[in-house]
């Protein structure tokens, strides 16, 4: 059991220099406000923990911007020496700090032992740890939890859990477990998964174009009869060999002397594709089958046209000849017609001559008559002077009657002769036309026969064979030849079509391989150093996550194990202290409850009925529970042999007299296990502690504060 003996203080907060005896089970530091109670109690804390106390991270509100050095210090050192009985001997722990020292300057820490040893700094700290003197965390937790309980109603379960776990000294496990198990590993793994998914999206985005190109190429190859399962870099060689074999057989069949390419390895592929692209055209050109078929087809078409035209031509000639013959039969031949025409023309000439003579006669008669009419002797002929009685009259009658009729007869005769002549001329022209037509038709048919004869193979017309029959025989022969050629061409077309497909397959395979290479180059990260680095980073992060996970599990297991014992220990004393402080009738039958949930352990303080206790209590009850927890822990620690000291600064705040009496009884009980130092104001609580408590006790009363002298002890009383 640890027992404090004495506290010597110099230049610490309100103290200039002085000491306080602490060698009783209960020490009361009594004084009005601002007399230095807290400075005295703080001196113990500072001596044990030094700068730890001053850190803002301590979480103790009162310690924020803590001034350790006395403001009116006359220089030298701030020093607190805490003497105590521990481990079967005595020890004096001294912490000293040069006044005005910076925040980074280390304090001088020394432990003087009864055997004369003097341990400093790290050795001193090690000795303190070895003696299991109160550690800063335990101290800090006790301070913090009390603050929290008093300030908050703690309606949030997590806050309660944290406070209670802190009360039980398990909050570090709890925090560790939460960090390791519930947050970091899961977050890290989730983050890694997200990073991997993002990376995949990036890669797939980059791959989209080449992969579509690749799959499109595969679809085309499927259409060309190559299943995707067959696709391999060796396939073009296989296709090429097949194509070359077929080409060789075709060349032999057609009697072509064609050079075929080598097809052994990938290096031969460009030449192979070039050959494959040109082979079809070469075969068509060299085989001439197509040309022969075209020629035969053309010849047969021409022959058919000539055969078709020959008969109508013959018919036309026959009819022309018939018309000519009929004309000649009816109207004589051309010579006869011409003779008749000559005669008709002669008659016309004669008629015209007679008419002209008659007209001349009439003209003379009229002239003579005119002369007679002017002559006095109308009976004397002016031409021959012959006298004829009534010559004029007779001449007039002759002109009027006789000569006129004769002239009309001559004119009529002439017209008839002309008509006859014209008719003959017309007949002759018609005959000539028929002759011309017949001649033309004959010429035409002779031409056609010549053409047809030229289309018929020599020999078919030998022996005076009929031209048309020979032509028809020629046509049949051509039809047979064309049929054969068509079969040959179809066969060649099929071969060439298959070859064309092979050529296309080879071209597509080259595209497929290029597309696959592009896609693979973009998508194949596995060989890249970046991928390796990334994988290593992921592995390292995953390993860290796994370690955190395992540590979280271990922390939880340790926490569970520890919780079980702490729960039992604290509950053993907690009810008793609550009853002491609050009174049996208050019914503060509370206990710490550890709950196991899938997410971890949670802590709460429950009442006897299993309901939540903290959230329904008044401030006094909360204070009572907090103090009860503190005492219960201290008692259990002391029983377990852990050096324990309870320091209470104004613990009777917000407690009525009844509760103060209970608190005094609780202090009496805990003081039986470990020393208790209480700072309080003068009054009934202090008096009660001095008068009613059965353990050895001392009251140290502090004098009114004097700035120059500092805190000082006015009187001491021991019982």
């Amino acid at each position: 059991m640890m027992r404090p003996l004495r506290l010597e203080i110099r230049n610490f907060r309100g103290w200039r220099e002085g000491s306080v005896a602490l060698d009783r089970q209960v020490t009361l530091v009594v004084g009005e406000n601002r007399r230095g109670k807290s400075s005295t109690l703080n001196a113990i804390e500072w001596c044990l923990f030094g700068r730890e106390v001053e850190k803002k991270a301590s979480g103790i509100a009162e310690r924020a911007d803590w001034e350790v050095e006395r403001r009116e210090s006359d220089g030298g050192f701030v020093e607190v020496a805490f003497s105590l009985e521990v481990g079967g001997g005595t020890a004096k722990i001294t912490r000293r700090r040069k006044t005005g020292a910076g925040a980074r300057e280390e304090d001088d820490l020394a432990v003087e032992l009864t055997d004369g040893r003097r341990l400093v700094q790290a050795e001193a700290l090690a000795w303190m740890r070895e003696q299991k003197l109160p550690d800063w965390e335990t101290w800090r937790r006790a301070c913090c939890q009390h603050q929290e309980i008093l300030r908050s109603r703690l309606t949030v379960a997590d806050d309660r859990s944290l406070i209670v776990s802190s009360l039980l000294g398990l909050d570090e496990y709890d925090r560790l477990h939460r960090i390791l198990k519930d947050q970091q590993p899961g977050k890290l793994i989730g983050e890694l998964d997200r990073v991997l998914a993002d990376l995949e999206n990036v890669v797939l985005y980059r791959l989209r174009a080449p992969s579509e190109e690749l799959f499109e190429s595969e679809r085309r190859l499927e259409a060309l009869g190559i299943e995707r399962a067959r696709l391999s870099p060796a396939l073009p060689i296989e296709i090429g060999r097949g194509a070359i074999e077929r080409a060789r057989a075709l060349a032999e069949r057609l009697g072509l002397a064609a050079a075929l390419p080598a097809c052994e390895s990938e290096a031969d592929e460009p030449e192979l594709r070039k050959w494959a692209d040109g082979w079809a055209a070469l075969v068509r050109k060299e085989s001439k089958t197509g040309e022969r078929l075209a020629s035969a087809t053309k010849r047969r078409a021409k022959l058919a046209a000539e055969i078709e035209q020959l008969e109508p031509s013959e018919e036309r000639w026959r009819k022309a000849k018939e018309r000519l013959d009929a004309e000649q039969r009816e109207k004589g031949d051309e010579a006869t017609q011409k003779t008749l025409l000559s005669e008709a023309e002669k008659k016309v000439s004669e008629a015209e001559a007679g008419l002209r003579a008659e007209n001349r006669t009439l003209a003379l008669l009229r002239e003579t008559l005119e002369v007679l009419r002017g002559s006095p002797d109308k009976d004397q002929c002016p031409v021959c002077d012959t006298r004829v009685s009534g010559l004029a009259g007779r001449l007039e009658a002759t002109v009027r009657k006789g000569t006129g009729e004769h002239l009309a007869a001559l004119s009529s005769e002439r017209d008839r002769a002309r008509e006859r002549r014209d008719a003959l001329e017309k007949t002759i022209r018609g005959g000539e036309k028929l002759v011309a037509e017949e001649k033309e038709a004959r010429k035409s048919i002779e031409g056609r026969r010549g053409s047809l004869a030229a289309l018929v193979s020599p020999g078919r017309l030998d022996g005076g064979a009929d031209l048309l029959a020979a032509a028809r025989a020629e046509d049949e022969a051509l039809a047979t030849e064309i049929g054969g050629l068509q079969t040959a061409v179809s066969s060649l077309d099929a071969e060439i079509e298959e070859h064309r497909k092979d050529a296309e397959r080879l071209r597509e395979m080259a595209k497929w391989r290029a597309a696959a290479k592009r896609a693979q180059q973009r998508g194949d990260l596995t060989g890249s150093p970046e991928w390796k680095t990334f994988q290593e980073a992921v592995d390292a992060a995953a390993a860290l996550a796994a370690d955190l996970d395992v540590l979280g599990t271990m922390a939880r297991e340790a926490q569970e194990k520890c919780s079980e014992s702490r729960e039992v220990e604290v509950n053993r004393a907690l009810g008793g202290y609550c009853a002491l402080i609050a009174g049996e009738e208050a019914g503060l039958d509370v206990r710490v409850k550890v709950k196991r949930t899938p997410k971890g352990l949670t802590y709460d303080i429950e009442d006897a009925g299993g309901g939540r206790a903290l959230s329904i209590l008044n401030q006094a009850s909360l204070n009572a529970i907090s103090l009860a927890l503190l005492f219960a822990q201290a008692e259990e620690r002391a029983k377990a042999g852990v050096p324990t000291i309870v320091v209470l600064d104004d613990p009777d705040q917000s407690l009525d007299e009844e509760h103060q009496a209970g608190l005094a009884r609780a202090i009496e009980r805990v003081a039986k296990s470990c020393p208790v130092i209480v700072g309080t104001t003068p009054g009934r609580f202090a008096e009660r502690l001095m008068s009613h408590v059965s353990v050895p006790r001392r009251a140290v009363r502090l004098a009114p504060r004097d700035v120059k002298i500092g805190v000082r002890v006015e009187s001491q009383e021991e019982r």
Binding site: L204, A519, A542, D549
Partner: protein, 173 residues
Amino acid sequence: MKLEVHQRLSELSAAAGKEYGKLVQKLLAIALLDAGAESLTDRSTQGIDLEATIKGKRRAIEVKTTESGAVSLGKKDLDGLAAREKEGARAYVAVLGNRFLDEWTFARFHAGELQPSQSYSVTQLRPYRDRELERSVVKPFADAVLKHADAAARGGQSALDEVLAAHPAYRRA
């Protein structure tokens, strides 16, 4: 994995439906045989999926495929793996995701660390990987997929059983 392998597996998954897992197990078995396994037993119904002797070491492999990136193992699976470990074999959980960047993850099984019916992401299994085994199976598996995936899509498990049966190191379960 290679783009074309991923493509084939995606198509196989679409064609095979629920049978996909077993088909992938058999493709992995073919890959392990091609990778030089001295013996291999493939089970379709009960027990550990694959048991193989590779480089003189006995290996028990529970095969899982995942679309979500996470797997969960039944109590029977875990008990079976634990039993094989006790017998001196190396037990693995082999996981293949369906994402393009996924490869086989062969995670060493440690009794007690994996809980039944709990979901484990592939990332969580990474620290337990047997990289040598993973490396040895990458190419044979890609080859097996390219070679047999179409047949598997048409003929199902029996088509792959025929391929397995033709291998001298294959042992019928």
